[in-house]
């Protein structure tokens, strides 16, 4: 192979065709609240960990739906389960259980 000093750049485009429906349904089975997020961002705004490092439940939910589960886990890695997000969620999502469930479902091999 020839090295031209430049090469293909990975696409930043998300491909929804890669969405793992089965796994998502598994998640929705144990925490159905994942379906009802309306991406308002309240959780991220109050996040204790998010003040110091990139943490966002809203984004994690998005990432899962956008076929990027590894990014979702990344988004929740710093979470301290403090529960502030559950207090501010306007849809009453059980955020802590959702976080635990996402990590459980998507970090399992």
């Amino acid at each position: 192979m020839v090295d031209f000093g430049f090469g293909l750049v990975p696409s930043s485009r998300m491909n929804l065709d890669l969405f793992d429906k089965e796994k998502y349904e598994e998640l929705a089975e144990i925490e159905p609240d994942v379906r009802i997020c309306m991406a308002c961002g309240s959780c991220t705004a109050v996040c204790t960990a998010g003040k110091y490092t990139r943490t966002s439940l809203r984004e994690a939910i998005e990432d899962i739906k956008n076929a990027k589960p590894e990014k979702a886990l990344e988004m929740l890695r710093a979470c301290q389960l403090c529960g502030k997000c559950s207090m501010v969620c306007p849809r009453g999502i059980n955020t802590r259980h959702l976080i635990l469930s996402i990590t459980k479902v998507y970090s399992a091999k």
Binding site: M1, F4, G5, G7, V9, S11
Partner: protein, 354 residues
């Protein structure tokens, strides 16, 4: 795909193309990329179809490349353009045809800008007079050279010696059409068929017997993008653009790509080589590439020009499989012989791309 639906759209994007008497302006880069294309254009229109196409050695670049690379101000570009137009008027023409898509887009943009901002036009008029002592004029009809070939497509078909058909199977060739972004994406009404389903090249392919390939990424840029290519650090983006297009057209197994822009055939051609040599992937049959030709070259092929006279040897992707399919006779030995019979030198062999 519903063909009638497309026809409806095409019918809404028809532009008036005068039949004759044009002031012709060449492209800067085409002359070095695929030099025979413009010569073929002039030969077909003047000699085969008997049209009046005037050109003058006094015209310059339109300034487009510098403009899109943010290296010269707009007023400068506009004055250069005004000079081109003035040359047209000075030579007694009012129909302006240019070979380059970048120029075409820039001319359209400039004309629109003058229309919206008359004070700017006045200033350019003054600039032109101050700098060149030329009388300001605007073309009555501004068209691209591919518009003209589109206009003459049936005349060309009438003189054609062959069609865009696989002579071995009798099947029409599958042709990808690719228009330059600046042809109609900026001003859909300025292009034949608009921007979504441009008809300018499709019309030629239909007239000459080929079959259109409508693949998902058909709208996508070839990857030129000016700054993306000019700066080596960004070249990966250019390459990735092209790669995306080829990945998208691959399932359709196209035989040929027709383009109407200076950059597109170049990038669709050369990047196939780079993709093949850096990743091992090829998109044509049996390790070949997909030839990416200019519309003049294709017109020349159907009209029976010798492929080496059309400059097809300047393409990185070998055109021989296409010539074989079309039943074009050629002398492989003459491929790298120039006009004067002197060897112009063969490129180094490729390891992946046949």
């Amino acid at each position: 795909m519903i063909y009638e639906g497309k026809q409806k759209i095409w019918s809404e994007y028809q532009k008036e193309i005068p039949d004759d008497h044009y002031f012709y302006v060449r492209s800067c880069i085409r002359q070095s990329f695929f030099p025979a294309s413009e010569a073929t254009f002039l030969d077909i229109t003047r000699n085969k179809l008997g049209k009046d196409i005037f050109e003058t050695e006094h015209h310059t670049t339109c300034g487009g490349i510098a403009y899109h690379s943010d290296t010269i101000p707009q007023e400068t570009v506009m004055t250069i353009i005004a000079r081109q137009f003035a040359l047209m008027a000075k030579n007694g023409y009012e129909n302006y045809v240019c070979s380059c898509i970048t120029s075409f887009g820039l001319y359209c943009e400039t004309m629109e800008t003058w229309r919206e901002f008359p004070e700017l036009e006045a200033k350019i008029r003054e600039n032109l007079w101050k700098s060149c002592k030329l009388e300001f004029a605007k073309p009555k009809f501004l068209i691209h050279a591919s518009d003209l070939i589109y206009k003459y497509r049936k005349l060309i078909a009438a003189q054609a010696v062959r069609k865009l058909v696989n002579v071995h199977t009798g099947e029409p060739l599958k042709v990808v059409e690719h228009i330059g972004c600046h042809y109609s994406k900026m001003f859909p009404s300025k292009g034949v068929g608009g921007a979504e389903y441009p008809y300018v090249l499709v019309g030629m392919i239909e007239a000459w017997g080929g079959e259109i390939v409508d693949y998902p990424e058909r709208r996508h840029c070839c990857g030129f993008g000016f700054r993306q290519y000019f700066i080596k650090g960004n070249r990966g983006y250019s390459l990735s653009n092209t790669h995306k297009k080829f990945e998208s057209m691959e399932p359709f197994k196209p035989d040929l790509i027709i383009t109407n822009c200076p950059g597109c055939p170049y990038f669709l051609d050369r990047w196939q080589y780079v993709i093949a040599e850096s990743t091992g992937k090829t998109y044509g049959q049996d390790g070949h590439g997909i030839p990416a030709l200019t519309y003049e070259e294709v017109a020349g092929l159907v009209m029976g020009y010798d492929p080496w006279d059309l400059g097809l040897q300047t393409h990185q992707v070998g055109v021989e499989p296409l010539l074989d399919k079309m039943g074009v006779e050629y002398d492989p030995a003459k491929k790298y012989l120039g006009k004067n019979g002197k060897d112009i030198g063969a490129p180094a062999p490729c390891s992946c791309l046949k």
